[in-house]
Symmetry: C2
DNA sequence: TTAATAATACTACTATGGTAGTTCGCCTTA
DNA sequence: TAAGGCGAACTACCATAGTAGTATTATTAA
């Protein structure tokens, strides 16, 4: 963990929050790891107050579990949590793409097109980390184009466990081509305002992500919540 | 504002959060009101740290707006915010009732029935504040019965602005009978597993709430965000 | 050797002092 | 009279000391 020099306009509290969140989502801080305010504060060269703020925020997102007067731990990936997030996301995003068929500005349509083009390039280069970002970006643009900024942010909070699963998939060789072709399909259907079809495609698209779930559990059992299968 | 004696198992921070949230949602702290850590801490007889924690949490829910080094204010009711919350809620809850038609335990079905019976009683007595609670409870049971606890909690966060609108409606004389009869309809449709019908009814039900919006804006303009209509 | 108990180290939680940034009002000056 | 600059008061933000609760280890007795 590196110390974080505060040269930006952000507050120290926000910076420590972002730093920790990044470490957890990237699985650099593994599920089950014990953290303490004091220790983190020393490593990051800040006081305990902003660390505590970050801890609280992360525990609200269920990325940390705080046991008062006892300890704070990085939460395990909870598959029920993941499934519920997928459920919510599917039902919001199918409505989003329907809205997009009704009204979607030229500007955002252009941004989508640019995004897809960049995906093609990154995929060819095998830059998977970049693909991860671009995939996120694609879906974010769908929400923003419909003026649903808050909905996207809310989903991001629910998706924190799911995103750790996605990172695990990165290490496997994954067929990005299918994903990209679906993105192209979604783009074209929105452009042609075919609501019913695009709804079907987005559902298929979102369900793709949880396919390889079982493989990942077998390969990395220590990351998962030891309860049901 | 009353001081809060901490006899419960909750932490002081959580208590001040709950206290402030209640005051804001009940509109006892009116939109635009300036709050300061120091002042609130003195009134509630706690230190500034838990107050600060509460402020941060409330600002994440957009019930407070914090301007660093300047001041903290109770946010105005934002109608775009309300509309987006309704959008999300409609699309989640229609899926919830569909799930409920597939599987819903006898226990929760009984709780729903009890809830409705209590609604009848409270309505006859004209106890509107209780009706507000029972209405919330009814919908919460739908989510819990489907094992979607997190989804409900997430919606509660988004609904904070919408809930203030609902409180305003309470002061008007409102036709609870329609609401209760719809609740009964939803209950019966779930019992008989009629997915398509129940989906239609829940959508109608949720749209009811924003009907009288314009009337409320005219009557209480000082509570609303002064932008578009 | 084992079980119960006391001591100790460690934790998050709360309180409070200090700091840097913002706002607003008063005074000066044109 | 009006506008600009200075200063005091106030703010949220950060650092740190103290507190109460938990877990672990050491000690003692059976």
């Amino acid at each position: 963990m590196q110390s974080i020099p505060n040269r930006s306009n952000r507050s120290t509290g926000e910076l420590t929050y972002e730093t920790l969140k990044r470490l957890i989502l990237n699985l650099e801080l593994k599920p089950g790891t014990k953290l303490s305010e004091k220790e983190v504060a020393e490593k990051l060269q800040v006081s305990r107050t902003p660390v505590r703020e970050a801890f609280l925020k992360l525990s609200q997102e269920e990325l940390l579990e705080i046991y008062p007067q006892s300890g704070t731990f990085v939460s395990f990936i909870d598959l029920e949590h993941v499934e519920e997030a997928r459920f919510v996301r599917e039902n919001i995003e199918r409505a989003i793409v329907r809205e997009a068929c009704k009204e979607f500005s030229e500007d955002y349509l252009f941004q989508l097109e640019t995004n897809i083009a960049t995906q093609d390039l990154s995929s060819n280069k095998g830059n998977y980390s970049r693909m991860y970002q671009l995939d996120d970006e694609f879906h974010r643009l769908l929400f923003y184009g419909c003026g649903k900024v808050r909905s996207w942010n809310m989903l991001q909070q629910m998706n924190s466990h799911f995103n750790r699963l996605r990172i695990l998939r990165l290490s496997s060789s994954l067929d990005w081509d299918i994903i990209i072709s679906q993105h192209k399909e979604i783009f074209n259907l929105i452009k042609n305002k075919e609501s019913d079809k695009v709804e079907q495609v987005i559902i298929k698209h979102l369900r793709l992500a949880v396919f390889e779930k079982e493989i990942l559990i077998e390969r990395y059992p220590e990351y998962f919540n030891p309860q049901k299968s």
